[in-house]
């Protein structure tokens, strides 16, 4: 994609292109910012990332063959930009070895235990009471490579194949990162719940909130 962008950087764009581009950008800005914010975990970085991605998109517009694919294409540029900058900035840590055993972790299974079941429906209660802030913190704690895949699939509704193409990794890697990312996310939530003492009935852990 990088090559495409530079190759067509000087391609002429018409005022009609500009009008079309502006409308598309307006309508997907909340999506773009939402993805950027969860990838960067910082408002200032997210703002820069959105601006840089849109600049690349505009410069590379001629390489977009099917205009109905605009949304996915811009998200790919955004993820690519984030990933290449992250790797430059932090030396590209590999975390594929991490979280292997987390892939099978199921929060549902932890909550759905006989000891908890006597007082109702713990897993539903858990979700009803789950604070957006706590979930956000759990997501933000994920290693970069896992978080990226979770954000693209769960928040941006991208297909595994699109994510694979976008991050230049095999589809099998998308699957395994997704499984590990979700497993780790659920482990974080379970940890948070335990720290809070599953406070509804106090049967688990003795801590007061």
């Amino acid at each position: 994609m990088e090559d495409d962008v530079t190759e067509v950087a000087t391609a002429p764009r018409t005022t009609a292109d500009h009008a079309w581009f502006s409308v598309q950008v307006e309508s997907m800005l909340p999506d773009l910012y939402g993805a950027a914010a969860r990838l960067c975990r910082s408002r200032a970085d997210a703002e820069d990332l959105v601006a840089e991605s849109l600049t690349k998109a505009w410069q590379g517009l001629a390489s977009l063959r099917r205009r109905e694919a605009f949304r996915c294409w811009v998200l790919q540029i955004l993820a690519n930009t984030y990933f290449s900058q992250y790797r430059k900035a932090r030396g590209g840590p590999t975390v594929d070895s991490m979280g292997a055993d987390a892939a099978d972790f199921s929060l549902f299974e932890r909550l759905h235990q006989p000891i908890l079941l006597w007082w109702g429906n713990p897993e539903q209660e858990f979700l009803n009471d789950l604070l957006r802030e706590d979930l956000r913190r759990a997501l933000d704690q994920l290693p970069d490579q896992y978080r990226t895949v979770v954000v693209l699939v769960d928040i941006q509704d991208m297909r595994y194949g699109e994510v694979a193409e976008c991050l230049e990794i095999p589809v099998g890697t998308v699957r395994s990162r997704l499984a590990r990312g979700r497993g780790l996310l659920q482990q974080h939530l379970w940890q948070q719940a335990r720290e809070a003492g599953l406070r509804h009935d106090g049967t688990v852990e003795g801590e007061t909130p």
């Binding site: 000087t10 002429p12 764009r13 018409t14 005022t15 500009h18 581009f21 502006s22 950008v25 800005l29 909340p30 999506d31 910012y33 939402g34 993805a35 914010a37 969860r38 408002r43 997210a46 703002e47 959105v50 601006a51 849109l54 600049t55 505009w58 199921s106 929060l107 549902f108 299974e109 909550l111 759905h112 897993e123 539903q124 979700l127 789950l130 957006r132 979930l135 956000r136 997501l139 979770v150 954000v151 699939v153 769960d154 928040i155 941006q156 509704d157 297909r159 595994y160 099998g172 699957r175 997704l178 499984a179 979700r182 996310l185 659920q186």
Partner: protein, 85 residues
């Protein structure tokens, strides 16, 4: 990942995520739905995972700060300047 038939809960839960992500092929998807229809425990887990996924999705819905909106509008104005033809 090899996709054999879904014969028990373990098989079902192995493909649950792909089902929720709409990545499962039709045949397995139908088998999974049949299993979920007849297995209360797997159905509950499926609903739990579905709701959690929806709540994660919701994290992407953040109000766009005014500074971002302004900056994007400024960018779009810049894009309209020459060398446009």
């Amino acid at each position: 990942m090899t996709h054999l038939d879904i014969q028990d809960c373990e098989d079902a839960m192995r493909v649950l995520a792909e089902h929720l992500d709409r990545e499962l092929d039709q045949r397995l998807d139908r088998q999974l739905l049949e299993h979920l229809d007849s297995c209360r425990s797997c159905y509950s887990r499926s609903e739990f995972d579905r709701r959690l996924k929806a709540q994660v999705k919701d994290l992407g819905r953040e109000p766009v700060p005014a500074t971002v909106v302004d900056r994007v509008h400024e960018l779009l104005r810049d894009f309209a300047l020459p060398p446009i033809v």
